[in-house]
């Protein structure tokens, strides 16, 4: 069974982004870029399926500029077999990404696509569900446990109030939540070996997908600032403030 894992290059989760003064975007400058944390979990899950013998090949895919090759190499160092870069300099929103991924899925014919549930830059939480809809496949979103059975996959999902377990016919789309696994660190030998694994580059324009954004970003602004309040010396002072000043208890 072939598994495809789409990965996104995003600003590192430890970087605090700053809004540009002219409202045109956020200042990324030389900020550290990393693989989206949920996508690291997706790669790890696919590699574990391969190690258990449930998957035969793990193919990682990224959409974006040439620098995404770095993200793909990171995924290979973590255990993926080969990579595909769908190259474009266009601003990509989830729907066009789902269409580009569908083109890859149509060609590669995997049984499973595992994606991160959300990218930590645009926080959209859309691409996996959109891909599943375009493929007309079932979906197991926000997965905290995945078990491949005969022609099916059993997915436990994090939902409001607890957990829900579904059985999906294959092929299917899964999106990962935080508790699915803890991604491994790539070893130095694997990082070196990753440089020699196949990485195919496909031009987005050659896939016949209209990648034009459908949402126009008019401006990016700072959120309202919340200023620090006061330190209180003890519990009695805190209770007094909550009762008489804040009036919330």
């Amino acid at each position: 069974m072939k598994v495809i894992v789409p990965v996104k290059r995003v600003v590192d989760s430890n970087v605090k982004v700053r809004v540009k003064d002219d409202g045109s975007g956020v200042e990324l400058g030389n900020a550290k870029m990393s693989m989206n944390p949920f996508d690291e979990i997706a790669v790890e899950e696919a590699v574990r399926l391969k190690e258990k013998g449930a998957a035969s090949e793990v193919v990682v895919v990224s959409c974006g500029g040439g620098q995404c090759q770095e993200t793909l190499r990171t995924a290979i160092a973590a255990g993926a077999d080969r990579a595909i870069l769908i190259e474009t300099d266009a601003e990509l929103q989830p729907l066009p990404v789902a269409k580009l991924l569908k083109a890859v899925v149509d060609k590669e014919q995997p049984q499973l696509v595992i994606l991160g549930k959300q990218a930590i830059d645009d926080d959209c939480n859309q691409t996996g569900q959109m891909l599943a809809a375009l493929l007309d496949w079932g979906q197991g979103t926000f997965a905290s446990r995945v078990e491949v059975a005969d022609h099916a996959v059993v997915v436990t999902r994090e939902v409001d109030g607890g957990l829900e377990t579904l059985r999906l016919n294959l092929p299917a789309v899964i999106t990962t939540d935080l508790r699915l696994n803890e991604p491994r660190y790539a070893t130095l030998p694997n990082i070196m070996k990753a440089k020699k694994k196949p990485l195919e580059i496909v031009k987005a324009a050659d896939l016949g997908v209209d990648v034009a954004p459908r949402l126009k970003t008019l401006k990016i602004t700072e959120p309202p600032k919340r200023s620090a309040g006061v330190m209180v010396p003890d519990v009695a002072a805190l209770v007094a403030k909550l009762k008489s000043e804040a009036k919330v208890i």
């Binding site: 926080d123 209180v232 909550l242």
Partner: protein
Amino acid sequence: MSTLANILVVAEHDHGALKSATLSTVTAAVELSKMSGGEVHVLVVGHNTRSAADAAARVAGVAQVLLADAPQLAEQLGENVAAQVLAMAADYGHILFPATAHGKNAAPRVAARLDVAQVSDATRVIDRDTFERPIYAGNAIATVQSVDKVKVITVRTTAFDAVPSEGGNAAVQMVDAVADSGKSAFVSAEIAKSDRPELVGAKIVVSGGRGMGSSEKFIEVLTPLADKLGAALGASRAAVDAGYAPNDWQVGQTGKIVAPQLYIACGISGAIQHLAGMKDSKVIVAINKDPDAPIFGIADYGLVGDVFELVPALTSALG
């Protein structure tokens, strides 16, 4: 210009009752209806869920309720819910879901099939095409304009006050239920039963971080305070990852977004991902032994010290 003026809200319910997330989503829909001149309709998808549909019909501002009631819709599987919405979609210019686990699961399937972009987590309606939404864990706010003929939107429920649950008098219209997709099947659910208020929507939230030290201490120290205040319990990601609290208690960028009247953060340092989930709370109290913890930078009231002494003392002081 689109003539599809009506607005469809896809209800969040547990079959018996409407969830408060639906009421906040109707508020956003009512704002849109004032701009577009359209009516607000609510779609209830489920099985044996007439009472939720009747409740939706009484919600202020709702002009019509559509009820798709069939056994194959009982588990509200994403594939079937999306198909049901798509069966209704032709009549609407806006389709709104609450940004809950259910809504986030189904909405993008609808948008992709309609070949339109989705606006995720809308926090403000500017006009019928234009919305605000947080990005980068709420460290920036994007104003986005949809150029699509139909707008599929998930609504961040904490950003909109709930509309009154009474005052409306809409008709409930049965609609044909879609067939089961056959692609997924419900196996089981473990939904915690609790007398506490739901975390999202609670007026007071008592939340614990890694500083609580263990799951035993987390419960032993925070539960009495939550009981006394009638509060929901929350947790930071660090506390959930450490196994101190169940994962559906996680407050943050990728967990639950809350905005209670009072948020009491105990042993939480205040990573930006956590702040993203609670910084719109009206009043924030932080109790932490580290005076330099970032949580104090946004707290209205900060108390430095040992949570294992201060939280029980606070519980007693509340009488």
